[in-house]
């Protein structure tokens, strides 16, 4: 991501980044608050954040701190016209810095020397994010779900970690206030079709396992922060901030006496 409240400077920065890393997914912002909100919402995962230091509404340092509160492992590269004014605080948070106006060779230098090297996530797989909001990415961009219920269906299947789910179970979870009925089951079948179509349209394959009246995900077909956590990946363990699939009430861990099944 790149943030600079001056549009021209942002343009220069973006050009420099794209010239040296043409295959990256770049998310530019002139407004730091919007940038923060998009990250918080999980619109994308910022492997590297190029931040202008001297911004009016929120300084680059403040933005860096707030970004790191969301994702501890973000690589911060400050862009500044006055490196001599960057005190200890900047160096504490930053992977590095570049001078303004941004030049491709300096961007390259920083990308080759990141504090937290980016594991090439271009292993071609779908990337599923369960921590924070449930989000799904493919090739750096969010997967486009035409229906929110379809996304919720996938979330539940991911949550079950490959366990096979019956149509009955899925209907009960997705429409918890409605008693089971043929109409509901038919509705669910439509969702399953929508999910299959959504994945196919994005050229994603092998994620779903379908049997008569049963559905599951294939855990090896996609990368997932939750699964990496379960495998003991230290980065994922430390990246967890206490929020799991925050949009869905069925994902809530806390139970009360009356909830116990």
């Amino acid at each position: 991501m790149a943030v600079d409240d001056e549009p021209i400077a942002l343009d220069v920065l973006c050009r420099a980044i794209l010239e040296t890393e043409p295959d990256c997914s770049l998310f530019p912002f002139t407004d730091p608050w919007t940038a923060l909100e998009e990250v918080r919402r999980g619109s994308f995962y910022p492997d590297v954040a190029f931040l202008d230091v001297e911004m009016f509404d929120m300084t680059g340092l403040e933005l860096a701190k707030r970004l790191k509160d969301i994702h501890g492992g973000v690589n911060i590269v400050f862009a500044t016209g006055y490196p001599e004014y960057m005190g200890e605080a900047f160096h504490m948070h930053a992977s590095g810095y570049i001078l303004k106006p941004a030049a491709p060779e300096n961007v390259r230098r920083e990308l080759d020397d990141l504090r937290r090297p980016v594991k090439r996530q271009d292993d071609g797989r779908l990337r599923v994010q369960c921590f924070g909001n449930f989000e799904v990415f493919f090739r750096g961009r969010p997967l486009n779900f035409s229906r929110s219920k379809t996304k919720e269906l996938l979330a539940y299947l991911v949550n079950r970690r490959g366990a096979v789910c019956t149509v009955r179970e899925l209907a009960a979870v997705l429409w918890e206030d409605k008693p089971n009925s043929p109409a509901l089951q038919s509705h669910l079948r439509q969702l399953v079709k929508d999910l299959t179509d959504t994945l196919a349209a994005a050229d994603v394959h092998g994620v779903l396992l379908k049997r008569r009246g049963r559905l599951a995900v294939m855990p090896d077909a996609f990368s997932c922060d939750y699964y990496d956590f379960i495998h003991g990946d230290v980065r994922m363990v430390n990246a967890y901030m206490g929020e799991y699939m925050a949009q869905y009430s069925w994902a809530e861990f806390v139970v009360g006496y009356l909830d116990r099944r």
């Binding site: 003991g232 430390n238 967890y240 206490g242 861990f253 009360g256 006496y257």
Partner: protein, 82 residues
């Protein structure tokens, strides 16, 4: 002694925490309803004993045990089946 307690039910958690805390002044009890946060805690802090349920939302007791044994090989795990 550092004790980690995990239970999705806050009332149960409180009860068990209070019960364990009574065992002595040198007993430090850290409690979580969220097993993932408990594991994160265990990855970054000393833990001697874990009390948890086998079946938990988020992560089951067996998985918690396995993950924490990576960090604390001599850890004692007490799992309860509900």
């Amino acid at each position: 002694m550092n004790i980690l307690v995990i239970d999705n039910d806050p009332a149960e958690l409180e009860r068990l925490t209070a019960c364990l805390q009574e065992k002595g002044a040198d007993v430090k009890v850290t409690a979580f309803t969220d097993p993932l946060l408990a594991v994160k805690y265990g990855y970054n802090n000393p833990v001697d004993v874990v009390y948890a349920k086998t079946d938990m939302r988020g992560l089951g007791g067996e998985d918690v045990a396995r993950l924490l044994r990576n960090i604390h090989p001599d850890i004692r795990i007490e799992l309860q089946d509900t």
